[in-house]
């Protein structure tokens, strides 16, 4: 069990780059609490696997430090760090039986056979592998093989952290749900730090207590799923999380008031804007935009049925905007007016939330 902290950690494949955009992982400081379930969420190539491999010791960082419970492990091997990691594609030892595969990490560490048997049987039971324990691992389906990989990650009881690198990519959708809830259940039982890398927001939000959103080699926000939804610290988070993502409208701020197309709009944080930004945007989730008699004039362009809601697309001047309207509520056609929930409308300067002091923590 360990509390993991990163201090000014950065990585580049190849020599240390001179310009900041060439870091695969830009300098960051962050702490993952002991026993937490974390998800690293972000698009492909955002540096989440790099961060994971740095944590596990498969990569040595170009600069910065990693600590497990305040002990510097930056230059330790994966074995010395005592971690478990499950990879995106199944890794199995072909010539061994399923049982031997699951027992391998334990036997390598000299665990006695009686303990091995209990641990392996326990894990096999949890992953529905009991009936295949004596079969050759190479004969299993992709699902089965990935379950073995998961099992090898979970079989040791003393690991500091268990890491999953998009482990459900090769698994059938119906099994995905099942395995994900199994992992969640297991986390609740053993309370070990788990880090789950994914580019799928549903996976991240259902698995994790805290989600670390990454983009372009940096951490843009760490928060609970609710925080990410209600108070995105960066336009990327607003856009990446939620379906449809947050609306972003170019605006101006004059005398502490947001101005769109000549009309003032009430927001939560416009008063905190101190000037100097290259771009200013107002962010509001489609859930918090309503048709009203007063407000921003728009043209309704499209209505899409999404089950319990209709997604209504409108144009405000030349800027697109989306609204979520409950099924059955009236939708005007042609010209209309929309109002924003003032507590949920926020100003973003150069992508970052205005007046957000905690921003430094993620950088």
């Amino acid at each position: 069990m360990a509390r993991i902290s990163f201090h000014d950690l950065a990585h580049a494949y190849g020599p240390a780059p001179s310009s900041p955009e060439h870091w695969a992982l830009k300098p960051m400081t962050m702490t993952l609490e002991d026993g937490g379930a974390y998800a690293l969420l972000g698009p492909s190539g955002c540096g989440k696997t790099t961060l994971l491999n740095l944590t596990s010791g498969l990569l040595t960082p170009t600069k910065g430090r990693i600590e497990f419970d305040r002990v510097d492990v930056t230059h330790k091997t994966p074995e010395e760090r005592n971690i478990a990691q499950v990879f995106q594609f199944p890794v199995i030892y072909d010539t061994m039986t399923v049982y031997d595969n699951l027992a391998f990490p334990l036997r390598n560490r000299g665990v006695d056979e009686a303990t091995v048997a209990t641990r392996v049987k326990g894990i096999a039971g949890m992953l529905d592998l009991s009936s295949t324990l004596q079969k050759r691992a190479s004969g299993l389906t992709a699902d089965g093989k990935q379950k073995i990989s998961l099992g090898r990650g979970l079989v040791r009881s003393d690991v500091n952290v268990i890491m999953f690198d998009e482990p459900l990519t090769v698994i059938d959708p119906h099994l995905k749900w099942e395995l994900r809830s199994k992992l969640k259940e297991l986390h609740q039982r053993i309370r070990r730090t788990m880090i789950y890398v994914t580019h799928d927001q549903t996976e991240a939000l259902t698995f994790a207590d805290k989600v670390v959103v990454m983009n372009d080699g940096q951490v843009v926000q760490i928060g609970t799923p609710v925080e990410l939804f209600e108070r995105p610290r960066h336009t990327f988070v607003g856009h990446f999380i939620g379906s449809p993502g947050m609306n972003l409208i170019n605006c101006d701020v004059r005398d502490g008031k947001a101005v769109i197309g000549g009309g003032e709009v009430a927001t939560e944080n416009a008063a905190k804007y101190k000037g100097g930004a290259r771009t200013l945007q107002l962010g509001i989730r489609p859930e918090f935009v309503k048709f009203s008699s007063e407000g921003l004039p728009v043209e309704v362009t499209k209505v899409a049925d999404a089950g319990r809601f209709n997604i209504v697309s409108v144009q405000a001047g030349n800027q697109p905007l989306k609204l979520l309207v409950p099924q059955g509520a009236a939708i005007p056609s042609g010209s209309a007016k929309v109002a924003f929930d003032p507590a949920r409308a926020r100003i973003y300067a150069d992508g970052w939330l205005v007046g957000d002091d905690a921003r430094g923590a993620a950088q």
């Binding site: 091997t77 890794v91 010539t95 560490r109 090898r152």
Partner: protein, 287 residues
Amino acid sequence: MKKTFDNKAWFLVLPVFLMVLFNSLIPLMTVVNYSVQETFGNNEFFWSGTRWFEQVLHDRQFHESLMRQIIFTGLVLLIQIPLGLAIALCMPRKGPWVSVCLVLIALPLLVPWNVVGSMWNIMALPDIGLLGKAINGLGISFNYTRQPLAAWFTVVLMDVWHWTSLVVLLCYAGLVSIPDAYYQAAQVDGASRWSVFRYIQLPKLKHVLTIAILLRFMDSFMIYTEVIVLTGGGPGSTTKFLSIDLVQKALGGFDLGPAAAFSIVYFLIILFLSWLFYTLMMRGEAK
């Protein structure tokens, strides 16, 4: 969708059939023809049944060259396969040295076979050859034209020099195709270097090694050029392998019947042993 059948497509395969016909079936049938008949020239043939086969199979010389051949091939496989694998494991996987290593390793394969024979012939000469002189300089009497053991040593060393590269290249290709995740998983699982070799590399190299063993078996079982240039089968007939024996019978003695029977027996031995190797190594794959 309606399927269309057009048997004219078979014509497209015809060139292949013709090629196989001319370069293997027809020559093979000629040999079969000679092996069951006796000829005194003038295109006169007399049926002799299995007489030549019986003669070859009871021939002491044939038994001896077959024995030598089996020992030679066994030695070659025992040395080249582990050595090739070991060299492949030591080679760098990335970086500027990869191409340098590959070129150096591939070099012996580019040398014509009779040149290989001449090279080693000169190199192993006890009075002027680098190798022969060096061994004698160490105080060991070495003369491959007179000592059977020295001749065997030179022949096997030559073959190892010439062909281990092939095993190295095949194994290296197999090694670089193993995804990084396997090594990473093994590292996380705490596997030792030996475990990585035993449970990851060796199983993943199984097919490549099967091919390497088959190729090396067939080639070494048919070795002719290098040995004829190096020792000519001598001293005496201590390095007379099957192919040398066959050529002496067919061209030297002009015993076309026995030579043809010899050829067929030779071919069948290689076919059988290749099949045996393949079946043994692929056992358990279908499960």
